[in-house]
Protein backbone atom coordinates (compact mmCIF):
# COMPACT_ATOMS: atom_id res chain seq x y z
CA UNK A 1 0.00 0.00 0.00
CA UNK A 2 2.98 2.25 0.73
CA UNK A 3 3.87 2.08 -2.96
CA UNK A 4 0.41 1.64 -4.48
CA UNK A 5 -0.94 5.04 -3.37
CA UNK A 6 1.82 7.22 -4.90
CA UNK A 7 1.93 5.00 -7.97
CA UNK A 8 -1.82 5.22 -8.59
CA UNK A 9 -1.80 8.96 -7.89
CA UNK A 10 1.03 9.34 -10.41
CA UNK A 11 -0.83 7.27 -13.01
CA UNK A 12 -3.96 9.40 -12.52
CA UNK A 13 -1.91 12.58 -12.93
CA UNK A 14 -0.32 11.52 -16.22
CA UNK A 15 -3.63 10.20 -17.58
CA UNK A 16 -6.35 12.35 -19.19
CA UNK A 17 -8.28 11.92 -15.92
CA UNK A 18 -6.03 14.55 -14.32
CA UNK A 19 -8.41 17.28 -15.55
CA UNK A 20 -11.19 15.79 -13.45
CA UNK A 21 -9.14 15.38 -10.28
CA UNK A 22 -10.09 17.60 -7.31
CA UNK A 23 -6.74 19.36 -7.03
CA UNK A 24 -8.04 22.77 -5.93
CA UNK A 25 -6.42 22.68 -2.50
CA UNK A 26 -3.12 21.58 -3.97
CA UNK A 27 -3.29 24.23 -6.69
CA UNK A 28 -3.91 26.97 -4.11
CA UNK A 29 -0.71 25.95 -2.35
CA UNK A 30 1.23 25.30 -5.57
CA UNK A 31 -0.17 27.62 -8.26
CA UNK A 32 2.22 26.23 -10.87
CA UNK A 33 0.02 23.10 -10.92
CA UNK A 34 -2.61 25.09 -12.78
CA UNK A 35 -0.47 24.38 -15.82
CA UNK A 36 -1.48 20.99 -17.18
CA UNK A 37 2.11 19.96 -17.98
CA UNK A 38 3.13 20.57 -14.36
CA UNK A 39 0.54 17.99 -13.30
CA UNK A 40 2.15 15.50 -15.69
CA UNK A 41 5.57 16.26 -14.21
CA UNK A 42 4.22 15.72 -10.69
CA UNK A 43 2.61 12.43 -11.74
CA UNK A 44 5.75 11.26 -13.53
CA UNK A 45 7.91 12.16 -10.53
CA UNK A 46 5.62 10.15 -8.23
CA UNK A 47 5.74 7.17 -10.60
CA UNK A 48 9.52 7.20 -10.97
CA UNK A 49 10.06 7.80 -7.24
CA UNK A 50 7.84 4.79 -6.51
CA UNK A 51 9.92 2.70 -8.91
CA UNK A 52 13.10 4.01 -7.27
CA UNK A 53 11.87 3.20 -3.75
CA UNK A 54 10.42 -0.22 -4.55
CA UNK A 55 13.57 -1.25 -6.44
CA UNK A 56 15.71 -0.20 -3.48
CA UNK A 57 13.38 -2.20 -1.23
CA UNK A 58 13.73 -5.23 -3.54
CA UNK A 59 17.52 -4.93 -3.34
CA UNK A 60 17.28 -4.78 0.45
CA UNK A 61 15.06 -7.89 0.51
CA UNK A 62 17.48 -9.66 -1.83
CA UNK A 63 20.36 -8.93 0.57
CA UNK A 64 18.30 -10.03 3.59
CA UNK A 65 17.36 -13.32 1.93
CA UNK A 66 21.01 -14.02 1.07
CA UNK A 67 21.79 -13.63 4.80
CA UNK A 68 19.40 -16.52 5.40
CA UNK A 69 16.38 -14.67 6.69
CA UNK A 70 12.89 -14.74 5.31
CA UNK A 71 11.03 -11.54 4.64
CA UNK A 72 7.88 -12.11 2.67
CA UNK A 73 7.53 -15.84 2.21
CA UNK A 74 4.04 -17.24 1.84
CA UNK A 75 2.41 -20.47 0.87
CA UNK A 76 0.28 -18.82 -1.79
CA UNK A 77 1.15 -17.46 -5.21
CA UNK A 78 2.27 -14.07 -3.81
CA UNK A 79 5.64 -15.02 -2.40
CA UNK A 80 8.40 -12.52 -3.01
CA UNK A 81 10.97 -14.53 -0.97
CA UNK A 82 10.70 -17.45 -3.38
CA UNK A 83 11.10 -15.18 -6.40
CA UNK A 84 13.83 -12.83 -5.14
CA UNK A 85 15.61 -15.69 -3.35
CA UNK A 86 15.67 -18.04 -6.35
CA UNK A 87 19.34 -18.20 -7.34
CA UNK A 88 18.48 -19.40 -10.83
CA UNK A 89 16.74 -16.19 -11.74
CA UNK A 90 17.50 -13.44 -9.24
CA UNK A 91 20.45 -11.85 -11.01
CA UNK A 92 20.92 -10.29 -14.43
CA UNK A 93 22.00 -13.13 -16.78
CA UNK A 94 25.79 -13.58 -17.07
CA UNK A 95 26.37 -11.19 -14.16
CA UNK A 96 26.01 -11.26 -10.39
CA UNK A 97 23.94 -8.06 -10.40
CA UNK A 98 20.64 -8.45 -8.52
CA UNK A 99 17.61 -7.30 -10.49
CA UNK A 100 16.77 -4.88 -7.67
CA UNK A 101 20.07 -3.04 -8.16
CA UNK A 102 19.49 -2.76 -11.91
CA UNK A 103 16.01 -1.32 -11.29
CA UNK A 104 17.37 1.02 -8.64
CA UNK A 105 20.00 2.37 -11.06
CA UNK A 106 17.49 2.65 -13.92
CA UNK A 107 14.92 4.57 -11.87
CA UNK A 108 17.67 6.88 -10.58
CA UNK A 109 18.51 7.82 -14.18
CA UNK A 110 14.80 8.21 -15.03
CA UNK A 111 14.37 10.44 -11.99
CA UNK A 112 17.24 12.58 -13.27
CA UNK A 113 15.54 12.94 -16.67
CA UNK A 114 12.18 13.85 -15.16
CA UNK A 115 13.57 16.39 -12.69
CA UNK A 116 15.81 18.10 -15.27
CA UNK A 117 12.82 18.38 -17.64
CA UNK A 118 10.68 19.81 -14.88
CA UNK A 119 13.34 22.21 -13.56
CA UNK A 120 14.48 23.52 -16.94
CA UNK A 121 11.73 22.93 -19.52
CA UNK A 122 13.23 25.33 -22.08
CA UNK A 123 16.76 23.95 -22.02
CA UNK A 124 18.35 22.46 -25.12
CA UNK A 125 18.52 18.97 -23.58
CA UNK A 126 14.73 18.62 -23.21
CA UNK A 127 14.06 16.67 -26.38
CA UNK A 128 17.03 14.36 -25.73
CA UNK A 129 15.93 13.62 -22.18
CA UNK A 130 12.39 12.82 -23.29
CA UNK A 131 13.73 10.43 -25.95
CA UNK A 132 16.22 8.81 -23.55
CA UNK A 133 13.44 8.35 -20.99
CA UNK A 134 11.20 6.71 -23.56
CA UNK A 135 14.01 4.47 -24.82
CA UNK A 136 14.97 3.35 -21.32
CA UNK A 137 11.40 2.50 -20.36
CA UNK A 138 10.90 0.61 -23.65
CA UNK A 139 14.08 -1.33 -22.83
CA UNK A 140 12.46 -2.09 -19.48
CA UNK A 141 9.61 -3.85 -21.30
CA UNK A 142 11.98 -6.62 -22.43
CA UNK A 143 13.30 -7.06 -18.90
CA UNK A 144 9.74 -7.17 -17.55
CA UNK A 145 8.84 -9.83 -20.13
CA UNK A 146 11.83 -11.93 -19.01
CA UNK A 147 11.04 -11.53 -15.31
CA UNK A 148 7.35 -12.32 -15.78
CA UNK A 149 8.43 -15.43 -17.69
CA UNK A 150 10.61 -16.41 -14.71
CA UNK A 151 7.68 -15.86 -12.33
CA UNK A 152 5.47 -17.95 -14.60
CA UNK A 153 8.05 -20.77 -14.49
CA UNK A 154 8.20 -20.55 -10.69
CA UNK A 155 4.44 -20.24 -10.32
CA UNK A 156 5.00 -17.36 -7.89
CA UNK A 157 4.53 -13.61 -8.04
CA UNK A 158 6.72 -11.05 -6.31
CA UNK A 159 4.52 -8.09 -5.36
CA UNK A 160 7.44 -5.66 -5.06
CA UNK A 161 8.84 -6.63 -8.46
CA UNK A 162 5.39 -6.26 -10.04
CA UNK A 163 5.06 -2.76 -8.58
CA UNK A 164 8.41 -1.83 -10.16
CA UNK A 165 7.24 -3.29 -13.49
CA UNK A 166 4.02 -1.27 -13.36
CA UNK A 167 6.07 1.85 -12.51
CA UNK A 168 8.26 1.28 -15.58
CA UNK A 169 5.25 0.84 -17.87
CA UNK A 170 3.54 3.90 -16.37
CA UNK A 171 6.79 5.89 -16.74
CA UNK A 172 6.80 5.08 -20.46
CA UNK A 173 3.31 6.57 -20.81
CA UNK A 174 4.46 9.48 -18.65
CA UNK A 175 7.29 10.26 -21.07
CA UNK A 176 4.84 9.88 -23.94
CA UNK A 177 2.52 12.45 -22.29
CA UNK A 178 5.47 14.76 -21.66
CA UNK A 179 6.44 14.48 -25.33
CA UNK A 180 2.88 15.37 -26.35
CA UNK A 181 2.93 18.34 -24.00
CA UNK A 182 6.33 19.39 -25.40
CA UNK A 183 4.79 19.60 -28.86
CA UNK A 184 1.88 21.70 -27.57
CA UNK A 185 1.55 25.41 -26.83
CA UNK A 186 1.10 24.63 -23.15
CA UNK A 187 4.82 23.89 -22.89
CA UNK A 188 5.72 27.47 -23.82
CA UNK A 189 3.82 28.71 -20.78
CA UNK A 190 6.01 26.71 -18.44
CA UNK A 191 8.27 28.78 -16.23
Amino acid sequence: MLYIIPLLTGILLISPLREKLPLDVLMKKYPSLENDTRKIFLGQTLIVLTGFAVSAHTLWISNKISEGGSYCSAQNVFDCDSVIGDMRYNTVPFTEIPWGLLGFLAFTVLLYFVRTLSNEPHADFVEKHIQFGKLMTVGGFFIIALLVYYEFKMGKICQYCTTAHVANIAAFFGFYEIEKAYQSDDWKKLK
Binding site: N63, S66, G68, M87, R88, Y112, T116, N119, E120, A123
Partner: protein, 225 residues
Protein backbone atom coordinates in the same frame (compact mmCIF):
# COMPACT_ATOMS: atom_id res chain seq x y z
CA UNK B 1 30.60 31.89 -20.45
CA UNK B 2 27.78 30.80 -18.16
CA UNK B 3 25.50 27.92 -19.09
CA UNK B 4 22.16 27.99 -17.25
CA UNK B 5 21.23 24.57 -18.63
CA UNK B 6 24.39 23.04 -17.24
CA UNK B 7 23.64 24.54 -13.82
CA UNK B 8 20.12 23.05 -13.82
CA UNK B 9 21.45 19.66 -14.82
CA UNK B 10 24.27 19.73 -12.28
CA UNK B 11 21.99 20.79 -9.42
CA UNK B 12 19.53 18.02 -10.23
CA UNK B 13 22.32 15.51 -10.69
CA UNK B 14 23.84 16.35 -7.30
CA UNK B 15 20.46 16.02 -5.57
CA UNK B 16 19.65 12.70 -7.22
CA UNK B 17 23.11 11.23 -6.67
CA UNK B 18 22.85 12.28 -3.01
CA UNK B 19 19.51 10.49 -2.72
CA UNK B 20 20.93 7.42 -4.48
CA UNK B 21 23.98 7.28 -2.21
CA UNK B 22 21.88 7.85 0.91
CA UNK B 23 19.61 4.92 0.04
CA UNK B 24 22.63 2.73 -0.80
CA UNK B 25 24.22 3.60 2.56
CA UNK B 26 21.00 2.62 4.38
CA UNK B 27 20.93 -0.71 2.50
CA UNK B 28 24.63 -1.29 3.20
CA UNK B 29 24.25 -0.61 6.94
CA UNK B 30 21.09 -2.66 7.43
CA UNK B 31 22.02 -5.76 5.43
CA UNK B 32 24.97 -8.10 5.18
CA UNK B 33 24.55 -9.99 1.92
CA UNK B 34 26.33 -13.29 1.44
CA UNK B 35 27.88 -13.92 -1.94
CA UNK B 36 27.20 -17.07 -3.92
CA UNK B 37 30.27 -19.21 -4.44
CA UNK B 38 32.29 -22.13 -3.14
CA UNK B 39 34.71 -20.24 -0.92
CA UNK B 40 34.42 -20.67 2.85
CA UNK B 41 31.66 -18.36 4.09
CA UNK B 42 29.86 -18.19 0.75
CA UNK B 43 26.48 -19.65 -0.11
CA UNK B 44 26.80 -22.64 -2.42
CA UNK B 45 25.54 -22.39 -6.00
CA UNK B 46 22.54 -24.32 -7.26
CA UNK B 47 22.72 -28.11 -7.39
CA UNK B 48 19.52 -29.22 -9.00
CA UNK B 49 18.92 -32.24 -11.20
CA UNK B 50 18.66 -36.02 -10.95
CA UNK B 51 20.14 -38.24 -8.27
CA UNK B 52 20.45 -41.97 -8.06
CA UNK B 53 19.43 -42.97 -4.53
CA UNK B 54 19.82 -46.72 -4.86
CA UNK B 55 16.31 -47.29 -6.17
CA UNK B 56 16.18 -45.05 -9.19
CA UNK B 57 16.76 -41.59 -10.60
CA UNK B 58 14.75 -38.91 -8.83
CA UNK B 59 14.64 -35.10 -8.79
CA UNK B 60 16.93 -33.40 -6.33
CA UNK B 61 17.49 -29.81 -5.23
CA UNK B 62 20.25 -29.28 -2.67
CA UNK B 63 18.99 -25.82 -1.74
CA UNK B 64 15.60 -27.26 -0.82
CA UNK B 65 17.38 -29.24 1.93
CA UNK B 66 18.83 -26.15 3.60
CA UNK B 67 17.41 -24.57 6.72
CA UNK B 68 17.79 -20.86 5.97
CA UNK B 69 16.88 -19.90 9.55
CA UNK B 70 19.55 -22.17 11.06
CA UNK B 71 21.82 -20.74 13.75
CA UNK B 72 25.05 -22.05 15.27
CA UNK B 73 23.30 -23.06 18.52
CA UNK B 74 21.17 -25.61 16.69
CA UNK B 75 23.36 -28.72 16.84
CA UNK B 76 20.72 -31.11 15.54
CA UNK B 77 20.35 -29.71 12.03
CA UNK B 78 21.77 -31.65 9.09
CA UNK B 79 25.19 -30.75 7.68
CA UNK B 80 26.22 -31.73 4.17
CA UNK B 81 29.33 -33.23 2.65
CA UNK B 82 29.51 -32.88 -1.12
CA UNK B 83 32.11 -34.74 -3.15
CA UNK B 84 32.67 -33.98 -6.81
CA UNK B 85 34.10 -37.10 -8.45
CA UNK B 86 34.60 -38.80 -11.78
CA UNK B 87 34.07 -42.56 -11.86
CA UNK B 88 37.08 -42.74 -14.21
CA UNK B 89 39.43 -40.56 -12.16
CA UNK B 90 42.27 -42.46 -10.51
CA UNK B 91 42.50 -40.09 -7.53
CA UNK B 92 38.77 -40.58 -6.91
CA UNK B 93 39.30 -44.32 -7.21
CA UNK B 94 42.04 -44.17 -4.56
CA UNK B 95 39.76 -42.11 -2.29
CA UNK B 96 36.96 -44.68 -2.28
CA UNK B 97 38.22 -46.36 0.91
CA UNK B 98 38.38 -43.00 2.69
CA UNK B 99 34.89 -42.04 1.49
CA UNK B 100 33.58 -45.41 2.60
CA UNK B 101 35.13 -44.89 6.05
CA UNK B 102 33.50 -41.47 6.23
CA UNK B 103 30.13 -42.94 5.25
CA UNK B 104 30.52 -45.66 7.87
CA UNK B 105 31.43 -43.10 10.54
CA UNK B 106 28.47 -40.79 9.95
CA UNK B 107 26.03 -43.70 9.58
CA UNK B 108 27.26 -45.39 12.72
CA UNK B 109 25.10 -45.56 15.83
CA UNK B 110 28.13 -44.20 17.71
CA UNK B 111 28.05 -40.98 15.66
CA UNK B 112 27.42 -38.35 18.32
CA UNK B 113 27.64 -35.24 16.16
CA UNK B 114 25.02 -33.37 14.15
CA UNK B 115 23.53 -35.47 11.35
CA UNK B 116 25.40 -35.42 8.07
CA UNK B 117 24.08 -36.00 4.54
CA UNK B 118 26.67 -36.98 1.96
CA UNK B 119 26.13 -36.36 -1.75
CA UNK B 120 28.40 -37.35 -4.61
CA UNK B 121 28.28 -35.23 -7.75
CA UNK B 122 29.52 -37.23 -10.70
CA UNK B 123 31.18 -35.36 -13.52
CA UNK B 124 32.86 -36.56 -16.70
CA UNK B 125 36.26 -34.93 -17.06
CA UNK B 126 37.35 -34.15 -20.57
CA UNK B 127 40.17 -36.72 -20.55
CA UNK B 128 40.75 -39.76 -22.75
CA UNK B 129 38.92 -42.90 -21.51
CA UNK B 130 36.76 -40.82 -19.15
CA UNK B 131 33.42 -41.88 -20.54
CA UNK B 132 30.90 -41.86 -17.73
CA UNK B 133 27.29 -42.92 -17.94
CA UNK B 134 24.36 -43.30 -15.61
CA UNK B 135 24.92 -47.06 -15.56
CA UNK B 136 28.52 -46.48 -14.51
CA UNK B 137 27.36 -44.08 -11.76
CA UNK B 138 25.01 -46.76 -10.44
CA UNK B 139 27.69 -49.45 -10.60
CA UNK B 140 30.26 -47.22 -8.87
CA UNK B 141 27.84 -46.35 -6.09
CA UNK B 142 26.45 -49.84 -5.58
CA UNK B 143 29.86 -51.47 -6.11
CA UNK B 144 28.80 -53.87 -8.84
CA UNK B 145 29.53 -54.32 -12.53
CA UNK B 146 26.17 -53.37 -13.97
CA UNK B 147 25.63 -55.20 -17.26
CA UNK B 148 29.41 -55.61 -17.66
CA UNK B 149 29.63 -53.36 -20.72
CA UNK B 150 31.79 -50.71 -19.02
CA UNK B 151 34.55 -50.29 -16.50
CA UNK B 152 35.45 -47.64 -13.92
CA UNK B 153 38.87 -46.03 -13.28
CA UNK B 154 39.34 -45.04 -16.95
CA UNK B 155 38.59 -48.53 -18.16
CA UNK B 156 41.24 -50.12 -15.94
CA UNK B 157 39.05 -51.69 -13.25
CA UNK B 158 35.69 -53.28 -12.77
CA UNK B 159 33.48 -50.94 -10.71
CA UNK B 160 33.01 -53.73 -8.18
CA UNK B 161 36.75 -53.72 -7.53
CA UNK B 162 36.80 -50.34 -5.83
CA UNK B 163 37.71 -50.17 -2.15
CA UNK B 164 35.19 -49.79 0.63
CA UNK B 165 31.55 -50.72 0.98
CA UNK B 166 28.65 -49.96 -1.36
CA UNK B 167 27.62 -46.38 -0.75
CA UNK B 168 24.30 -45.48 0.82
CA UNK B 169 24.22 -41.80 -0.14
CA UNK B 170 22.81 -40.27 -3.33
CA UNK B 171 24.82 -39.78 -6.50
CA UNK B 172 24.01 -36.70 -8.57
CA UNK B 173 24.27 -36.88 -12.35
CA UNK B 174 26.37 -33.98 -13.59
CA UNK B 175 27.75 -35.71 -16.66
CA UNK B 176 26.89 -32.61 -18.69
CA UNK B 177 29.19 -30.62 -16.38
CA UNK B 178 26.71 -27.82 -15.66
CA UNK B 179 26.94 -27.90 -11.87
CA UNK B 180 30.69 -28.50 -12.03
CA UNK B 181 30.96 -25.23 -13.95
CA UNK B 182 28.61 -23.41 -11.56
CA UNK B 183 30.64 -24.66 -8.60
CA UNK B 184 33.92 -23.76 -10.28
CA UNK B 185 35.42 -27.19 -9.61
CA UNK B 186 39.12 -27.28 -10.53
CA UNK B 187 39.42 -31.08 -10.56
CA UNK B 188 38.30 -34.27 -8.90
CA UNK B 189 37.94 -35.31 -6.19
CA UNK B 190 36.87 -32.05 -4.54
CA UNK B 191 35.12 -32.04 -1.17
CA UNK B 192 32.97 -29.48 0.61
CA UNK B 193 31.50 -29.41 4.10
CA UNK B 194 28.37 -27.29 4.05
CA UNK B 195 26.54 -25.87 7.04
CA UNK B 196 22.80 -26.58 7.41
CA UNK B 197 22.01 -23.11 5.99
CA UNK B 198 23.97 -23.71 2.77
CA UNK B 199 27.12 -21.79 3.68
CA UNK B 200 30.46 -23.42 2.86
CA UNK B 201 32.26 -24.39 6.08
CA UNK B 202 35.23 -26.15 4.51
CA UNK B 203 36.52 -26.74 1.01
CA UNK B 204 39.32 -29.10 -0.02
CA UNK B 205 40.32 -26.51 -2.62
CA UNK B 206 41.12 -23.96 0.09
CA UNK B 207 42.24 -26.45 2.74
CA UNK B 208 45.29 -27.74 0.88
CA UNK B 209 46.60 -30.91 2.48
CA UNK B 210 44.27 -30.99 5.49
CA UNK B 211 42.16 -34.09 5.79
CA UNK B 212 38.39 -34.18 5.50
CA UNK B 213 38.15 -36.34 8.64
CA UNK B 214 39.93 -33.63 10.64
CA UNK B 215 37.61 -31.03 9.13
CA UNK B 216 34.51 -33.08 9.97
CA UNK B 217 35.66 -33.53 13.57
CA UNK B 218 36.64 -29.90 13.90
CA UNK B 219 33.57 -28.32 12.33
CA UNK B 220 30.53 -30.49 12.86
CA UNK B 221 29.30 -29.93 16.40
CA UNK B 222 28.36 -32.61 18.88
CA UNK B 223 24.62 -33.20 18.91
CA UNK B 224 22.87 -31.80 21.94
CA UNK B 225 20.73 -34.83 22.85
Amino acid sequence: MYDDNATARTDTLIKIISLFVLVLVVIAFTTNPIATGVGVGEKVPILEGKIYNGNGWVDYDLHAQFDTDWNEEDTNATWFIVEFLDTDCSACWRDTAKVSDLQNAISSTQWDRAPVQMIAVVVELNIQNHDGSRDEIKAFRDKNDGDGSFKCNAGRSLCSERDGNPYNFPFFDDLDGKSTKDWDIPGTPTYFIIKPNGIVAWSSVEAGNSDIFDAVNGLIPEASN
